[in-house]
C-alpha cells in the first residue's frame, strides 16, 4: 500500500515521455536511413538496376539461316532442305499425359524408342517447352493427326528444315553430308554465328564449302519471364541464308559411271581438261548420306562400318592403287623429254629383262615376249620390258622428278576434304621412310607402275587431263560457282593453273599418237572400245594387289577373290580437242582392257554423245 502512496506519477510520465521521444527519434532515424538506401538504389544506382532489369527480361534469340542448296552443272538439285514433321507435346498444356500418349498411339504409331526419348527430354526441358514424341512423320500421318487435332490440346505438329540428298548414294562421296555439330567442331566454329545451327558439313562439298553454305545467323530480341518463356518478340534481324553452289559435276554422267561400274567396287573420276572441273566422281559402293543427317542409329552405322565393301571409304580421293601400265605414257614422255629415248628406235622384248650382272629375270606380262618394239608399239601393247629398260636409263630420281610434274605423289588440292596424295617413290623417300637403300630392281618395278608407286583415281584422272591438254595443268575442282541472288560468281578456290610439266609439242604428239593406237590399233589393248564417233586416246593398266591398306580385317575366305588384280584405264577424248579425261580403277576387276576400258567408254559416250 505504501508503495502506491509514494508513486511519483509526474516523474514516471516524464521518464516515459523521454523514452518515447528517444524511441520515436530512433524509429525516425531508421526510416530516414531506409529513405537514403532507397534513394541510393532508385536514384544513384538506377541506371545499373535498369540495365539489369532489362537484361533479365530481354533475351537475344538466334535464328538459324537456311543452308545453301547444291546444284549440278545443269541445275539439277543435289542437296536441299526439306521440311521434316515431328509430333510435339507441351507437357504444361496437357491434362492427362498418359491418356494423351495412349490415344495418339491409335492415330500415329509411337514405339518404345520414341517413348524413352520423350521421357528423357521431358526431364531435361521446361514444362512449357515442346517435346517431340514422334519424329519424321509421313505426309499421311500429318494429315491423320490434323483430322484429330481438336482432341489433343497441347499437341502440335512441328516442321523444321532437314538436309536431304535426293540422289542419296550416287552423290555421297562428292557432297558428303551434314550432321549434328560435335564437341571438336564446337571448338573450331564461330559459336555466335552457329548459335542457332544444329548441323554442320562433315565431309565432301558440305564440309569444304561450309562457310558459303551456312549463311549468317539472325537475331531476335524477345521478352521472357523468369522461367525463360518467350512472351513477345521485341525486334528481329532476319538471318542471311547461305549461298547456293553450282558444281561442275554432271549428275547424268555420275549416274552413268555408277551404273557402268556394275557390281564392281571401284572409282571413276572424269575431269574437263580445260577447266579442271570434276565432271564425275564416283566411289563405289556409296552409302545413303541421309542416314547421317539426324544421327545414324547404331545398327546402320555398324553395318556400314563393318561391311567388307567399305562403302564409307572414298576410293576416288583416298583409295591408293598402283597405277600399273597406265603410267607408261608418262614414262614415255619422261624418256623423250630427257633425250634418253628415241621413239622410232626399237628394242627387242624377249619376255623378260635382266639387270647387268644380275641373274634375276624381270618378267613381261606376255610370256613369249613382244619381239622388236618401238615406243608406239610398247605403249599400244603395253610392253613391260621396253619400260624396264627406260626406267633403268632414267633412274628412279629422274622418274620421280618428271612424274611429280603431273601431280603424282602429291595431293591434287581438289576442293574436297580428306584427299590422300598417293606415293611417288624416290631414293630419298625410301631412306627417310623405310631407312633402307634403294635397290636398282625397284626402279624397274616402279617403271611399270608397280612396287611402292601408288596413285589415287583422282590423281590418275588429273594427270590424264594434263596430258590431254598437252601440258596445261589445272587444279581439279568440284564446285563451279557460287550463286547469289542476282549473279553467279565462279569460285576462286581450286581451278587455278598449276606449273605445267613443260614438254615439247612433238613429244606430246608422239605419246598421244601411241595412246590413240591403244584404242585404234589392231594390236591395241583397248581396241574393243574403239568409237566411230570420236577418237579416244587411252591406256590400260593392271595393278597387283596390295589392295587398300585398311583392309586388314577381311575374312580368310574372301582373300582369294580380293587378291585379284585391279583393272585400270585412263583415257581422254576427243583427241584433237579433248573435252573429257577419265581415270577408272576397278578393284579386283582383273584386266584393264576387258573391264576398266568399257566403263571409261560409257562415261565418254555419255558425255560426248549425250544420253541415249
Amino acid at each position: 500500500m505504501l508503495q502506491f502512496a509514494i508513486r511519483d506519477h509526474l516523474r514516471e510520465s516524464r521518464l516515459f515521455l523521454g523514452r518515447t521521444i528517444v524511441a520515436g527519434s530512433f524509429v525516425l532515424l531508421l526510416v530516414l536511413a531506409l529513405c537514403l538506401r532507397l534513394a541510393d538504389l532508385q536514384v544513384l544506382q538506377h541506371e545499373h538496376f535498369s540495365t539489369r532489369s532489362l537484361d533479365n527480361r530481354v533475351k537475344l534469340q538466334p535464328l538459324a539461316p537456311t543452308r545453301g542448296l547444291i546444284y549440278d552443272r545443269n541445275g539439277v538439285l543435289l542437296a536441299q532442305n526439306l521440311p521434316s514433321y515431328s509430333l510435339e507435346i507441351t507437357p504444361e498444356a496437357v491434362k492427362d499425359l498418359a491418356w494423351t500418349i495412349e490415344e495418339l498411339n491409335k492415330i500415329i504409331p509411337i514405339d518404345d524408342i520414341d517413348l524413352t526419348r520423350f521421357e528423357r527430354l521431358k526431364q531435361q526441358r521446361r514444362r512449357f517447352d515442346k517435346i517431340p514424341i514422334r519424329v519424321r512423320l509421313s505426309e499421311e500421318e500429318v494429315a491423320r493427326f490434323a483430322v484429330h487435332r481438336h482432341r489433343f490440346p497441347g499437341v502440335d505438329i512441328e516442321a523444321k528444315l532437314l538436309r536431304s540428298y535426293p540422289l542419296a548414294e550416287k552423290t555421297a562421296h562428292v557432297l558428303g553430308y551434314v550432321g549434328r555439330i560435335n564437341e571438336d567442331e564446337l571448338q573450331r566454329i564461330d559459336t555466335s554465328n552457329y548459335s542457332a545451327t544444329s548441323h554442320i558439313g562433315k565431309n565432301g562439298v558440305e564440309k569444304a564449302y561450309e562457310g558459303i553454305l551456312h549463311g549468317e545467323v539472325g537475331l531476335q530480341q524477345v521478352e521472357v519471364n523468369a522461367q525463360g518463356r518467350v512472351l513477345r518478340i521485341l525486334e528481329s534481324r532476319a538471318p542471311v541464308p547461305g549461298n547456293d553452289l553450282r558444281l561442275f559435276l554432271d549428275i547424268g554422267l555420275q549416274e552413268e559411271a555408277t551404273a557402268a561400274l556394275g557390281d564392281y567396287n571401284g572409282a571413276v573420276v572424269a575431269i574437263d581438261p580445260g577447266t579442271g572441273g570434276v565432271l564425275a566422281l564416283v566411289s563405289k559402293p556409296g552409302f545413303d548420306p541421309n542416314l547421317f543427317v539426324e544421327g545414324i542409329n547404331t545398327a546402320d552405322y555398324t553395318a556400314l562400318k563393318e561391311s567388307p565393301d567399305k562403302p564409307l571409304f572414298n576410293r576416288a580421293l583416298r583409295g591408293q592403287y598402283p597405277p600399273g601400265s597406265t603410267i607408261k605414257p608418262f614414262m614415255a614422255l619422261a624418256g623423250l623429254e630427257a633425250n634418253v629415248l628415241n621413239a622410232e628406235q626399237t628394242k627387242y622384248c624377249p619376255g623378260f629383262y635382266q639387270l647387268p650382272g644380275h641373274t634375276h629375270k624381270y618378267r613381261d606380262w606376255k610370256r613369249g615376249g613382244h619381239g622388236p618394239m618401238d615406243m608406239v608399239d610398247a605403249i599400244t601393247q603395253s610392253c613391260d620390258v621396253y619400260f624396264y629398260d627406260l626406267a633403268r636409263t632414267l633412274g628412279i630420281d629422274g622418274m620421280q622428278r618428271f612424274l611429280s610434274r603431273f601431280g603424282f605423289g602429291r595431293r591434287t588440292g581438289v576442293d574436297l576434304t580428306g584427299e590422300l596424295g598417293g606415293l611417288l617413290p624416290s631414293r630419298e623417300w625410301k631412306r627417310a621412310q623405310r631407312n633402307m637403300p634403294w635397290f636398282p630392281g625397284e626402279t624397274l618395278i616402279a617403271g611399270i607402275g608397280q612396287g611402292y608407286f601408288l596413285t589415287t583415281p583422282l590423281q590418275l584422272a588429273s594427270a590424264t587431263a594434263t596430258l590431254a591438254a598437252r601440258g596445261k595443268r589445272v587444279r581439279p575442282r568440284v564446285v563451279r560457282s557460287v550463286i547469289f541472288a542476282d549473279a553467279e560468281q565462279p569460285t576462286t578456290s581450286g581451278g587455278e593453273s598449276l606449273q605445267p610439266p613443260e614438254v615439247g609439242d612433238r613429244t606430246w604428239q608422239q605419246v598421244v599418237a601411241a595412246m590413240v593406237n591403244v584404242v585404234e590399233g589392231t594390236r591395241g589393248t583397248a581396241k574393243r572400245i574403239r568409237s566411230d564417233d570420236y577418237t579416244i586416246a587411252g591406256k590400260t593398266g593392271t595393278a597387283q594387289v596390295f589392295t587398300v591398306k585398311q583392309d586388314e580385317k577381311y575374312d580368310e575366305e574372301n582373300i582369294d577373290e580380293k587378291m585379284r588384280d585391279h583393272a585400270l584405264f585412263v583415257a581422254f577424248a576427243p583427241v584433237e580437242e579433248p573435252r573429257i579425261a577419265v581415270g577408272v580403277v576397278v578393284e579386283n576387276g582383273g584386266h584393264g582392257s576387258s573391264v576398266a576400258a568399257p566403263i571409261a567408254k560409257r562415261v565418254m559416250d555419255r558425255y560426248l554423245l549425250g544420253a541415249k
Binding site: F16, R19, L34, C35
Partner: protein, 378 residues
Amino acid sequence: MSLPNSLSSLQPSNPAKPPGLLARLHLDLPLLTGLVLLCGYGLLVLYSAADQDLDQVRRQGLRLGLAFLAMFVVAQVPPGHLRRWSPWLFGVSVLMLLAVILFGEVGKGAQRWLDLGIFRFQPSELAKLTVPMMVAWYFAENPMPPTLPRALIGSGLTIVPVLLIAKQPDLGTALLVACAGIFVLFLAGISWRWILSLGVVISALTPLIWYLMRPYQRQRVLTFLDPERDPLGAGYHIIQSKIAVGSGGIYGKGWLNGTQSHLEFLPERTTDFIFAVLAEELGLTGVILLLGIYLFIITRGLFIATQAQDAFSRLLGGALTLVFSVYLIVNVGMVTGILPVVGVPLPLVSYGGTSLVTILAGFGILMSLHTHRKLLPT
C-alpha cells in the same frame, strides 16, 4: 482492491460538449484514417502484384474487414479489463505455444499451426500481443523504473515465449515478440547502463546464436552478407528484389507495368516482397508516400501512448506502436538488401491474414487506451 489514486476524484470534463460518434464507438479518427489509407494503398499494390487477380484482392479485402472488426471489438474493451486479463492471456498463449511444439501442424517446414477443429490458429501471433501486455502488467504493479530483479523477471517473461517460437522455427515472429518485450523494458525506464551491458552480452552470445541456428537460417545470414555468392539460390531473392527497387527510379515504371514483378523474376511478390513491387512500379515517389503514411500512424500511436494515464497503458501502447515500426523497418530493410531475409511482412500491405488481425487488434488496444481516458481538468 481499490486504488486510492487521484483518478477517483476526477469528473468528466467539458460536459457541454458531448463526445462525437467516433469517440462513442471508441475509435480514434487520425489513427483510423491512417490505417484505412494504408490498407487501401496496399490493396492497389496487391492488385498489381497479384497480376490483376481480383479474387486475391477480394480475399485480402475480406481479411482486412475481419481484422478491422477485431480492432473495433478490442477497442470497446476498457484498458482496465485488458490489464486484469493480461496474466491469464499470457498464460494461455504460452500453453498454446507448448501445444504447438507438442502437437502442432507442420506447414512449409515449420511447426506453427494449431488445429482447433474449426480453424487453424497461430499462437505465436497471439504472443505478439500478450507478451507486451504481460510485461507491462508486471512492471505497472510497481513504480518506474523497475528494479534490476524485476527487470530480469520481465526479460524472463519475454524470453520463454520467444524461445518457444524460435524453436518452431519462426525467426521473424520470434524477433517481433522479443522486440515487444524489450520495448516495454526500455519504455519502463531501465537504466542506460543495463541496456549497454545487455548489448555487450548479446554481442558476446552471437557465436552461440550462430551455433543454435538451423542451416537454412545460417544460409540466410551468409547470403545477406554477400548475395552474389549464390545468385541463383538463396541470393536470388535479394538480387531480384534490389533490381526491382533500383529499376523503379524516381517515378517508377507505372502501376501494373513492373517487369520484375509481372515476369515473375521477383519471388514472394504478393507477400514478403510486395514492397519491391511498389518501389518498381511507383518509384521513389510512391515509396515516400507509403513511408509517410507509416510515419503518421507511428507518430499517432506514440502520441496516444504518451497521453495514457497509467503505466500499463503507456507501456503497452508504446510497445505496440514500436513493434509496428519494427515490421516496417525490417521488411523494407530486407527488400532493399540491408537486412537479412527474415519472414516479416510489410504490415497491413503484404498478402496474408495471420498478421493482419494481430496488428489491427493492437491498434484496437491503442484506440481503447485513448478513448477510455478520463480527462483531467485543465
